[in-house]
């Protein structure tokens, strides 16, 4: 931001950003490293907001749950373009969005991932979306029994659990960044009428 034109452009951007957020009913947005502290701060802020708005307790718990799993997905699985080794990026980086409409909350995340992971992710998300409640419970039990914690501390249960708790489909999209990386956008809904 050096030079007058850049400043004016930036200030105008702020207004259009504000309008876009309002149009999409965005309650919380963040871009950056997703650390444990960030996860705690966002969930407790959202909890306090829902509490003061007297949101249904069951909705509150589900939103909290989905937020934690989504933020941990970024924290554990997001890639950083150009990073040579894992140790260079301890916590993953991405975008996190919480929006609130009259009927639903939406939790949306976006992060970079290696292109060669796209087929596996697509297959996993599609297979979860085909299952009903009972099917999800069965898959969850099977996974937790077989599963081991990965070296990143994930149990591989996050998406199944999100689908099970929300009863909503897992919406996703992959956008190509270059030959090596894609951008993964994930979104799910929590009904406010439980």
């Amino acid at each position: 931001m050096d030079g007058k034109i850049d400043v004016k452009e930036f200030l105008e951007f702020v207004y259009s950003f504000y309008k876009t957020m309002r149009d999409h009913q965005v309650a919380l947005v963040y871009e950056g490293d997703v650390t444990h502290q960030i996860t705690k701060a966002f969930t407790s802020l959202t909890e306090a907001n829902m509490e003061s708005q007297m949101e249904d307790p069951s909705t509150q718990k589900k939103v909290f749950h989905v937020m934690v799993e989504c933020l941990q997905n970024i924290s554990k699985h997001a890639e950083v373009i150009g990073a040579e080794t894992v140790s260079q990026h301890k916590d993953g980086t991405g975008i996190f969005l919480l929006s609130k409409g009259s009927e639903n909350y939406n939790v949306t995340t976006g992060n970079v991932l290696l292109k060669d992971k796209v087929p596996v992710m697509t297959e996993m998300l599609d297979s979860i979306n085909l299952l009903d409640k009972e099917g999800l419970k069965t898959l969850y039990k099977q996974r937790i029994k077989e599963g081991r914690l990965s070296n990143k501390g994930g149990a591989g249960l996050g998406f199944i659990d999100i689908a099970k708790k929300t009863g909503s489909k897992l919406y996703y999209h992959f956008l190509s960044i270059n030959d090596e990386y894609s951008f993964f956008v994930f979104s799910t809904q929590i009904s406010r009428n439980n």
Binding site: T39, S44, K61, K137, I144, K145, L149, G153, A155, L157
Partner: protein, 127 residues
């Protein structure tokens, strides 16, 4: 045996493991930054306890929230209790859930399906 007494925080549960006083309980919230490190001493304690358990072990779970990473470690605790039960000792799991929390009730049902150990669901009121 030594006593484990951990005071809970907003992201780690309270834990009491006290064989002499028959107190075995995990309660509160579980989403530790490093789940494996948090649960390791608890699992180690249970390994030692399994070598000479009390005649009856009533283990209380009274969690209000746990993330999926914790769910795997909770299963590991239940599997240790299953071992103690299968070795011929009396073991009872009491899974407490807030009476308006279907998801926590369901989590108990799922664990009860997975482990072969006497399992009791107990609802309580948050008021």
């Amino acid at each position: 045996m030594e006593v484990i007494k951990i005071i809970g925080t907003d992201d780690t549960p309270s834990v009491t493991l006290d064989a002499n006083n028959d107190l075995f309980e995990i309660s509160g919230r579980s989403l530790p930054e490093d789940v494996a490190a948090f649960y390791e001493p608890i699992l180690d304690w249970l390994d030692r306890y399994a070598e000479g358990p009390n005649d009856k072990t009533v283990f209380n779970f009274k969690l209000v929230y746990f993330n999926t990473a914790s769910s795997k470690l909770l299963l590991d605790i239940l599997l240790k209790l299953e071992e103690i039960f299968e070795a011929g000792n009396d073991v009872l799991i009491r899974w407490h859930f807030p009476d308006d929390d279907e998801d926590m009730e369901e989590a108990g049902e799922e664990y009860a399906d997975i482990v072969e150990v006497p399992f009791e669901q107990v609802s309580y009121s948050m008021d």
